[in-house]
């Protein structure tokens, strides 16, 4: 246990240990799923309530990603994944702000563990290449040896650097923030951590936006005219 952060299996399903972070992820996914189900279970031609709010969010994200990615059909195809990234990361980051979260097993933000952030970055990595291959076919692979075959090592390093930078930035920010809050809770409970937690609301949202925007820009670059 480091600064109150719990580590280890939460329970076992047969021989398989289930980490508390996995349980937190399940809760977050279930939360998003339940809200989405409630918004879409009785859809009306003239939307009201939760359906109305969800339609506004969908229209906003579609317009946002269309402007960001230039190509409307690419944005339409990838907006669901990118929006899911944003919601999952945002709620994960905020899950650490539940009072006493750092001391309770199961309430540590999943994004403060690099296995989770790396998994999200690996999904982005594969999405980028799927987007490139689906838009340009086999010709997409040509960019690995462009402008010359001698550039292959540099292009490969660049491809690895993208998910690595996504992983380290999100993990580093959220883990560091959790450490600071846990340390301050230990040293000076209530008042001082409250200010940092207020700042965490902003930082959590910024990190979710940055991850989503960067993923969108990588996908747009692979699917764009440059290849």
């Amino acid at each position: 246990m480091i600064f109150g952060m719990w580590d280890g299996a939460f329970f076992h399903i047969g021989p398989i240990p289930v980490d508390h972070l996995v349980v937190t992820e399940w809760v977050i996914i279930a939360l998003i799923g339940i809200i989405a189900f409630m918004a879409t279970r009785d859809m009306q031609r003239v939307p009201r309530g939760l359906q109305n709010a969800f339609e506004a969010i969908i229209i906003f994200t579609k317009d946002f990603f269309t402007q960001l990615m230039d190509e409307e059909h690419v944005a339409k195809k990838w907006a669901p994944l990118l929006t899911a990234f944003f919601l999952f990361i945002l709620i994960s980051n905020y899950s650490g702000l539940i009072p006493g979260a750092a001391h309770i097993a199961g309430f540590q933000p999943p994004t403060s563990n690099w296995n989770v952030t790396m998994t999200l970055a690996i999904i982005t990595f594969f999405s980028v290449h799927v987007a490139g291959l689906s838009e340009h076919g086999g010709h997409y692979l040509h960019h690995f040896v462009s402008p010359s075959p001698l550039m292959l090592p540099l292009n490969l390093v660049e491809e690895v650097a993208h998910p690595l930078s996504l992983t380290v930035r999100l993990f580093g920010n959220i883990f560091g923030e959790e450490m600071v809050i846990a340390f301050l809770l230990f040293m000076a409970p209530f008042v001082v951590p409250a200010a940092i937690m207020g700042l965490s609301l902003l930082l959590g949202a910024i990190q979710a936006v940055v991850f989503t925007i960067l993923s969108a820009s990588y996908i747009a670059a692979a699917a764009g005219e440059g290849h």
Partner: protein
């Protein structure tokens, strides 16, 4: 009067962050890879130096690509 298309704030933001973090990750990844190889084979600083140079070359390439892409966009406007 032709309306000049303003770059979307999110695009400008993502390009800036992308450039900085990709450069840092490339140098860090290659440098660490080189250091790991040096530890494994006891080759002194050889692989670390090669790794850092490879990372720096990638960083320069990433910046060069960004500049060429921006120049191309300006010319096609």
């Amino acid at each position: 009067m032709a309306e000049k298309k303003k770059k979307h704030w999110a695009r400008a933001f993502s390009e800036a962050i992308n450039l900085v973090t990709t450069i840092a990750a490339a140098v860090g990844f290659c440098g660490y890879g080189g250091w790991w190889l040096d530890q494994k084979y006891g080759t002194g600083p050889k692989f670390t130096v090669i790794g850092v140079l490879l990372g720096m070359a990638t960083a320069i390439k990433v910046m060069w690509d960004r500049m060429v892409a921006d120049q191309h966009k300006k010319e096609t406007k």
